[in-house]
Each structure stands twice: as structure tokens, then as C-alpha cells.
């Protein structure tokens, strides 16, 4: 494409954006709102995935021992568990250690333990990690039936639930994406149709004097892409500030929450959102050109 031709195309694009100012505004807004909603969903799903994965990797089995267990039995039990298939590590946690850990975890609310005085309601326990998260359930069930074991607990059900929720959200997100993308494409193709209509005389003359199909199509295609691009920028900017605000809030209340860090993650999201806008714009104008621009 010659430089001057590019100049002409850009001129044409801005002329018709101005000419169809209300439709252009509606298109850009629709793209922006749709992409923003999609972006929020993307952020939610990705963060829930991350949370589930983090929890999953941290899953361990806590084996609580009966209070009256003798040291020798306890050591035998530890050996048996260590020899089980799929068990990676076994760590003995005495009831004293458990109490000091609890007081550490309570932090500012440590005084709650004062009420107990010297008493310690916590049992001795083993902390097990497994080779693979899948093995948690079977291992826990087997251990629970061993002599000297009070109970074996693990966080697997929480993780499962989280994965269920993210799976649902992903399906919902895809459905929403299809719907919103469809609506956006429709609006953009309508805007381009108006432009085609407004320029039908010019198009006819261009054909008679021998302009190529692509020379005629380019300005329309570019107009769609520009609309999508503008909407994408707005959505991306809004999404960035939204995520920054949410992140600040979450860090304030749930400091340990494994949130996706803003950088570089949000840069990828920004690029993806803007590119999606442009692709949606291109699709919208292509549909209109196919239907209304008989060249």
C-alpha cells in the first residue's frame, strides 16, 4: 500500500466516524462494556484457578493421634505410615508444638489462648504430604483405620469445590463471551453498513474507474478495527484500575490470598483485550462488507 493511499484511507475512516458519530459512539461503548465484562470474568476465573492450584499443592493430611498412645506405638505407627505407598514425608508434631503454632497463627488474638491457662486441648499429630494430590483421599481413609489414630483430616473437599466452581465459571464465561461478542459484532457491522450506505455513490464511481476491490474495502475494514480498538482501550484502562482497586482491597483483608500479581499479568490482559476488540471490529465490518458491498 502506498503511503498516500494509507493517508487517504485514514482520512476516510475519520470522516465516517464523524459522519456516523452516534453509531460510532454506540459501537465503541458496546465494545468497551462487553470487553470489560469479559475481562472481569477472565480475571475471576484465572484467580480462582490459581487459588485452587495453590491450595491443591498445599494439601496435606493431618493425622491426629489418640491421647493415650505410648511413644513406642507412636514410633511404630510413624514407620508404618512412612512405608505406605504415595506418602512423601511424615512429620511428628507434638501437642506442645501444635499449641505454640496456634498461638503464632492467632497473632494479635493470642490472648484467646490465655483462657486455657496451662491446659492444652490439642492432640499429638503427624503431618503427611503425599506424592500426588490424587492420593490424598485413599491415604487418609486407610490411615484412619490404623490403631492409635483418632482421625485423619485433609482439605481435599475444599479444593474440589473450588475446581467445580471455576469449571462452572469457565463455561458461563465462554457462553457470556459468545453472547457479548455476537452483540458487539452486530453493532459494529451495523455501523459499517451505515458507512457503506453513506458512501454508495463513491463506491459506484470507484468501481467504474477501476479501483480494486481491496482498495474499496480497506477503509471500511479499518473503520471497524478502529472502533474495536477504541472500545478495547477503554475496557483495558477500566479493567486495570478495577483490578488494582480490587487487589488493594483483597490484600488489606486477606493478606495471604494468592492473587495473580498485577505485573506482568495485567499487561497480557490489556494486550488480549485490545486485540480482541480489533478482531471483533474486523469481523463486524467483514460481515457488513460481504452483505452490503457488492463490488
Amino acid at each position: 500500500m502506498k503511503l498516500r493511499t494509507g493517508e487517504y484511507f485514514i482520512q476516510e475512516v475519520f470522516r465516517s466516524l464523524k459522519r456516523n458519530n452516534w453509531m460510532s459512539f454506540a459501537s465503541i461503548s458496546t465494545v468497551a462494556v462487553s470487553l470489560f465484562v469479559l475481562g472481569v470474568f477472565l480475571l475471576l476465573v484465572m484467580n480462582m484457578n490459581r487459588l485452587a492450584a495453590t491450595l491443591e499443592s498445599q494439601v496435606q493430611i493431618s493425622v491426629y493421634l489418640q491421647d493415650d498412645l505410648k511413644k513406642a506405638d507412636r514410633e511404630g505407627l510413624q514407620k508404618d505410615i512412612t512405608n505406605m505407598q504415595g506418602i512423601e514425608t511424615v512429620k511428628y508434631v507434638s501437642r506442645d508444638e501444635a499449641k505454640s503454632r496456634l498461638s503464632e497463627r492467632l497473632g494479635d488474638q493470642k490472648y484467646l489462648l490465655d483462657a486455657l491457662g496451662d491446659k492444652n486441648p490439642l492432640p499429638d499429630s503427624f503431618e503427611l504430604t503425599v506424592v500426588h494430590p490424587d492420593m490424598v483421599e485413599t491415604a487418609a481413609k486407610a490411615i484412619e483405620h490404623m490403631n492409635g489414630v483418632e482421625s485423619a483430616k485433609y482439605g481435599q473437599d475444599v479444593v474440589e469445590h473450588l475446581f467445580d466452581i471455576t469449571r462452572l465459571m469457565r463455561i458461563f464465561g465462554v457462553a457470556l463471551m459468545v453472547l457479548l461478542a455476537g452483540a458487539t459484532i452486530f453493532i459494529i457491522s451495523n455501523t459499517i453498513r451505515l458507512t457503506v450506505f453513506a458512501r454508495r455513490r463513491e463506491i459506484a464511481i470507484m468501481k467504474y474507474v477501476g479501483a480494486t476491490d481491496w482498495f474499496i474495502r480497506w477503509p471500511f475494514l479499518m473503520e471497524g478495527v478502529v472502533l474495536g480498538f477504541a472500545g478495547g482501550i477503554i475496557a483495558a484502562v477500566a479493567l486495570r484500575s478495577f483490578y488494582a482497586a480490587m487487589a488493594a482491597k483483597i490484600y488489606n483483608t486477606l493478606a495471604f490470598f494468592p492473587l495473580m500479581p498485577q505485573y506482568p499479568f495485567m499487561n497480557y490482559v490489556t494486550v488480549a483485550i485490545i486485540l480482541s476488540g480489533m478482531v471483533i471490529g474486523a469481523i463486524g465490518s467483514t460481515i457488513s462488507l460481504k452483505r452490503f458491498l457488492k463490488v
Binding site: R4, T5, R201, I205, K207, V209, A211
Partner: protein, 228 residues
Amino acid sequence: MIHMRNVCKTYDTGAVALDHVNLDIEKGEFVFIVGASGAGKSTFIKMLFREELPSSGKLVVDGHDVVGMAREEIPYLRRGLGVIFQDYRLLPDKTVFENVAFAMQVIEAPRRIMQRSVNAVLDVVGLRDKYRSFPSQLSGGEQQRVAIARAIVNDPSIVIADEPTGNLDPETSWDIMDIFQRINKAGTTIVMATHDRNIVDAMKKRVIAIEDGRIVRDEQRGGYGYEA
């Protein structure tokens, strides 16, 4: 320049517009196409710049095989042709100069020759001093002259005119014909469909008469020939 062999055109409705037309128009000729409305004149003209496609037969225009050509080649056929219509078809929001330059712009002609070429053709049609006017400020004859300037600015080998004087009074029509004659003298082939008996009779050019989709008469230095 233009060669037709057994060209037929049947529309989807079943109407036969052209029926086995054979014809040769050579370089530098000036040809009138005459015939009643609905005789097939318009179809004939539209085929030359491939607005319509023959149903069968062979049609070569300016070296292009119109029937067999790929879609992508159509613009290049049209760059060798200058097309003029009864209703001028100017862009109302562009000046005279811009209307003519537009034809160069959209085929990506070099900018440095644009100014010169546009001025030259505006000289040919006698509108150099009105280059900044808008079509609405011009008379019908002047508008048609702008359209002619636009048709010839890319230096076509054939000018195709469909009833170019149809909307003009006799005196203005003669101005237009005068321009056509000058363009023709410079070597450009001219094919003009018309209803204007006086013009055809006075110009003594080749006349091709079409009736019911067939060529019923083809004579050099002919006349309109109908009692209408």
C-alpha cells in the same frame, strides 16, 4: 478494440436482452448505438465494462477477455475505459477538481502527475476556471463535462457513454458532442448509446441499431433511421 462473437444475454427472468450479437469496433472509431428503450442498448453498454456478463459467446474489450476474466482483473479492464452516464454521477461534496482527481486517486496514480493531468482534462472540457465549484453550482451541461473530464483523466482507450445528452437541451448537447469529437480525434474510441436523432443524423458516424436484442443495421456514416 471491441470484438463480440455470438454474444447472448438472457436474464434470470427469462427475458432475452441480446441474441447472438457479432460485432467489431476498431481503434479510433466513433460509434452510435441506437434503438428503442428495452431493445438491448443498455445491456450492450453495460457488458463493455462488465457490469453485466454475457450468458454465452465471446467478448473481448481492449484486449481483455471479458467473459473468462477473473474478478480481480475487472478493475484493470475498467482502467482502460472511461464511462459516462446520463445522470453524471458526480460526488456532491467534492469540488470539480476533486471529482476528477478522485478517479486518479483510487487507482493510486502518482500524485505528481495528478495536478497536471486534472488541469489538462479540465482544459479539454473548458472548465479550468471552475475547478473550485461544487456540482450543485454548475449547470447540467457543465456537470456532464466534469463527468467527461473524470472519464478521460486516466487516458482510456475507449470512452463509453450511455445517453450522455439525455438530460440536456439541444444546444448544450452539441457542446458535449463537440468535446467527444475532439477526444475521438485524439485517437480514443468512442461508443455512445443515444436516443438523440438530430445528433446521430448530423454527425455521420457509424451507427449500430439494436432491435429485440439483435443488430438490425450497422452502417458507416449512417443516420438514426427510425420514424419515432
